[in-house]
C-alpha cells in the first residue's frame, strides 16, 4: 500500500476537562474519498479543525506525505496542501464570485497589500476553474449570495483545488442542500476524485451519500475510532449501526416505539 497522504497518530484533544478526541489514528490516501462518520458530538469537526490548523492537538502527530507537521494556523495547513471547505464559513455572500475565489490570495500588481487587483485575469481564472469542476457561471462578478448552496460549495472546492490543495476536507457539504444540489456536490466530489491526485475527507450524516461516493470509512464515537475499512471490507456490515456510535438500531426502534 502506498504512503497515506495524511496520517494521524494518537491524536487527542482536550477542551479543559472535556476529552473531545482520544487517540485518533487516521489514514487518508490520494485519489480516494474518505468518509468520516459518527453521531453528533462524536468529534468529527474537532478532528478536521485540528487537521486544518484551527485547533492544536493536545497530543499526537499529523503526518503529511510522511513528514510530521504541527499546524499553528489555518495558513500553515493550507500551505501543507490541506484545503478545508466549511459548511458555514466557506464563502462571503456579499462579495463577487471572483473576489471570493481569490480572497486572501489575490493576484496583484505592485507591493502588498496595496497592489492593484488584476481583475480581468482573476475573472477569467475563476470562470475557467468553475467550468472545469462542472459549473458555468455566467458572470464571475455576481454576488455569491445569488448562487445556490450547491454552487457555493463547488466554488469553495474549486478554490481549494486551484490553490494547491492535495487534501480536501468537506464538513457536511450536503447537509443544508436540496436533493438535486446534494447530487451536484457528490458529482463534484467524484470529478475531483477522478483526477487521482487529490484526497477528500468527507463528513456526513447521510449513510446513502457516504456509500455512494466513498472508498474508505472511519467511524468515530465519543472521541474514539470504533471502526474503519474500505468500501469492500465494510460490505454487508451495518454502517448505520457504526454511524450511530455502536448503538443497536433495533434498540433505538424499540425505544422510539415505547414513547
Amino acid at each position: 500500500m502506498a504512503e497515506p497522504i495524511i496520517r494521524t497518530e494518537g491524536l487527542s484533544k482536550k477542551f479543559g476537562p472535556f476529552t473531545a478526541l482520544n487517540g485518533i489514528d487516521l489514514e487518508v490516501y490520494k485519489g480516494e474519498i474518505h468518509a468520516l462518520l459518527g453521531d453528533n458530538g462524536a468529534g468529527k469537526s474537532t478532528l478536521i479543525k485540528i487537521l486544518s490548523g484551527v485547533h492544536q492537538p493536545t497530543s499526537g502527530t499529523i503526518y503529511v506525505e510522511g513528514q510530521p507537521h504541527a499546524f499553528k494556523t489555518p495558513r500553515d495547513a493550507s500551505q501543507a496542501g490541506i484545503g478545508t471547505v466549511y459548511q458555514d464559513l466557506a464563502v462571503n455572500p456579499l462579495m463577487s464570485v471572483t473576489r471570493n475565489f481569490f480572497m486572501g490570495r489575490e493576484l496583484t500588481k505592485g507591493p502588498a497589500p496595496f497592489g492593484l487587483l488584476r481583475m480581468e485575469e482573476m475573472d477569467q481564472i475563476t470562470h475557467d476553474e468553475m467550468v472545469k469542476i462542472g459549473i458555468d457561471i455566467s458572470d464571475p462578478r455576481q454576488a455569491v449570495g445569488t448562487m445556490s448552496g450547491g454552487q457555493r460549495q463547488t466554488l469553495a472546492i474549486a478554490r481549494a483545488i486551484y490553490f494547491g490543495a492535495k487534501v480536501l476536507i468537506l464538513d457536511e457539504p450536503t447537509s443544508a442542500l436540496g436533493q438535486k444540489q446534494q447530487l451536484e456536490v457528490l458529482k463534484t466530489m467524484r470529478r475531483v476524485r477522478a483526477r487521482g491526485d487529490i484526497a477528500i475527507i468527507f463528513i456526513t450524516h447521510n449513510e446513502v451519500h457516504s456509500m455512494l461516493v466513498s472508498d474508505r470509512f472511519t467511524f468515530l464515537a465519543l472521541g474514539e475510532v470504533i471502526g474503519k475499512g474500505t468500501h469492500e471490507e465494510l460490505h454487508g456490515t451495518d454502517i448505520r449501526h457504526l454511524m450511530a456510535g455502536g448503538v443497536e438500531m433495533a434498540d433505538l426502534e424499540q425505544e422510539i416505539a415505547a414513547i
Binding site: L94, M103, R105, E106, L117, D136, T146
Partner: protein, 376 residues
C-alpha cells in the same frame, strides 16, 4: 407525469438576467444616495434663489461638504469591515486641542517652541497610537467596537477638557498667530486651493463683488484633502488587495480568516484610518481659523456614520462604496449649510432632515442588499 422538454437544456448560467446598462446601474450601491443628492441640490438651488451656488455659496458649501466627507470616508471603510468608531468626534477635539496647545504653549517635555509641522506630526503620532489602541482592544477583547469606542468618546473628550483646563486655564484657544501666512505646511491645511477655478470664473465675467473686482479667490484646503482622502480610499477599496480584505473582513469574518485574510490587522489599521481622518479634519480647522475649542467635533461621529449609511454602506458590514459616501457628504453638507441661504429655516430643520433621510436610506440599503444577494 408531465416533464417539460426544455428544462433539460436550460443551464444555471441562463438564469441570471444581467439586464441592460440601466439595470446594472440600479444594482450599484450608490443609486439611492445619488438620487437623494440630486433632489437636494435642485431643491436647495431653488429655495436659495441660486445663492447656494454663487461663488461664495459654492466655497462655503464645499467647505462643509469636504469636512463631512473626510470623516465619513474613514467611517465608511471601517463600517464595511464591520466596525463602528464613535470616538471620531472626540478624536477631532483631542487632535485640535493637542495641536493648538503645542502651538501656544510649546512642545511637551520642554522641547522648545512648536512649528505647525512638529505640532501636527506629534499630534498625528498620538492619534494614530490611540486608533491602534482602540483597534487592538476591540480585536483582543472581542467586545463590540460600538462599546469600546463609546468608552473612548467619553474618555477622549474628558482628557481634552482636562488638558485644556490644567494647562490653558480655559477650554478655548483663540488668537493664535496666522500660521498659514508663514508656513507652507499650515497653508496646506488652512489655506486656499484651486484659485484657478475662481480666476477662470472671474475671467469669464462672473465672480464679481459689489465693487466689480474678483470676489472669491479660492476653495478651502479641506476640499483638496477630501479629494485626496476619498480618491485614495476609493482606489484602495475598489482596486487593491487591501480593499478585498476590507470587504471580506466585514462580510464574513471567520470565512475571511480561514482563507488567510489578516482580519485583525485590517480592523486595527482601519481604526487608525478613522483617527487619521479625524486628525486631518482638526488640522484644517485649527490652521484655517487659528482657534481651538474643547467642544470641537461634538456629534461628528454620528454624522459620519449617518453619511456612510446614506451613501449605501451596510450597517452589518461587507458592502458599501466611497462614491456613495461622496454623494452622502454632498447631501448632508448642503442641508447643514442651508440655514445660511434659506432665511426661513434654522438648524432644527437639518436634524429633522437627517432623521428622515437616515431612516429612508436604511430601508433603501436593505432592499439593495436583498437585490444583489437574491434575498439573503
Amino acid at each position: 407525469m408531465a416533464v417539460h422538454e426544455a428544462s433539460s437544456q436550460r443551464s444555471e448560467a441562463d438564469r441570471l438576467n444581467k439586464g441592460g446598462i440601466l439595470d446594472q446601474l440600479k444594482r450599484r450601491p450608490e443609486v439611492g444616495s445619488f438620487i437623494v443628492m440630486m433632489v437636494v441640490i435642485i431643491a436647495i438651488g431653488f429655495a436659495s434663489h441660486g445663492n447656494a451656488f454663487n461663488p461664495l455659496g459654492l466655497k462655503n458649501n464645499l467647505s462643509i461638504i469636504a469636512q463631512f466627507g473626510i470623516i465619513a470616508t474613514g467611517a465608511c471603510l471601517l463600517m464595511i469591515a464591520g466596525d463602528f468608531d464613535l470616538s471620531i468626534g472626540s478624536m477631532i477635539g483631542f487632535a485640535g486641542m493637542s495641536m493648538s496647545m503645542m502651538l501656544k504653549w510649546g512642545l511637551p517635555f520642554g522641547l522648545g517652541t512648536a512649528t505647525p509641522v512638529t505640532a501636527f506630526l506629534i499630534t498625528l503620532a498620538m492619534t494614530l497610537f490611540l486608533g491602534w489602541l482602540i483597534g487592538t482592544i476591540v480585536v483582543r477583547s472581542k467586545l463590540s467596537s460600538f462599546i469600546v469606542t463609546l468608552a473612548f468618546l467619553f474618555f477622549l473628550r474628558g482628557v481634552t477638557e482636562v488638558c485644556f483646563r490644567i494647562i490653558n486655564q480655559s477650554t478655548q484657544i483663540s488668537g493664535l498667530p496666522d500660521y498659514k501666512e508663514t508656513s507652507w505646511f499650515a497653508d496646506l491645511f488652512g489655506g486656499e486651493f484651486f484659485t484657478w477655478f475662481y480666476s477662470a470664473w472671474y475671467a469669464l465675467g462672473g465672480n464679481l463683488n459689489r465693487a466689480g473686482n474678483q470676489w472669491v479667490s479660492g476653495f478651502d484646503a479641506r476640499l483638496l484633502w477630501w479629494i485626496i482622502v476619498a480618491g485614495v480610499a476609493y482606489l484602495i477599496l475598489a482596486r487593491t488587495q487591501a480593499g478585498n480584505w476590507i470587504y471580506a473582513t466585514g462580510d464574513n469574518r471567520e470565512s475571511a480568516r480561514a482563507n488567510g485574510v489578516p482580519v485583525d490587522k485590517v480592523r486595527i489599521s482601519l481604526f487608525m484610518v478613522t483617527a487619521l481622518c479625524a486628525t486631518i479634519f482638526a488640522a484644517c480647522q485649527v490652521f484655517d481659523t487659528n482657534t481651538a475649542d474643547a467642544a470641537k467635533g461634538n456629534l461628528k461621529e454620528l454624522e459620519a456614520i449617518a453619511i456612510a449609511v446614506v451613501g449605501g454602506t451596510l450597517m452589518t458590514g461587507g458592502f458599501g462604496s466611497v462614491i456613495g459616501v461622496v454623494f452622502g457628504a454632498v447631501t448632508f453638507g448642503l442641508v447643514a449649510n442651508a440655514v445660511f441661504f434659506i432665511p426661513a429655516i434654522d438648524g432644527s430643520y437639518y436634524r429633522v432632515f437627517v432623521g428622515v433621510v437616515l431612516l429612508t436610506a436604511v430601508f433603501l440599503n436593505e432592499s439593495v442588499r436583498k437585490r444583489i444577494t437574491g434575498g439573503l
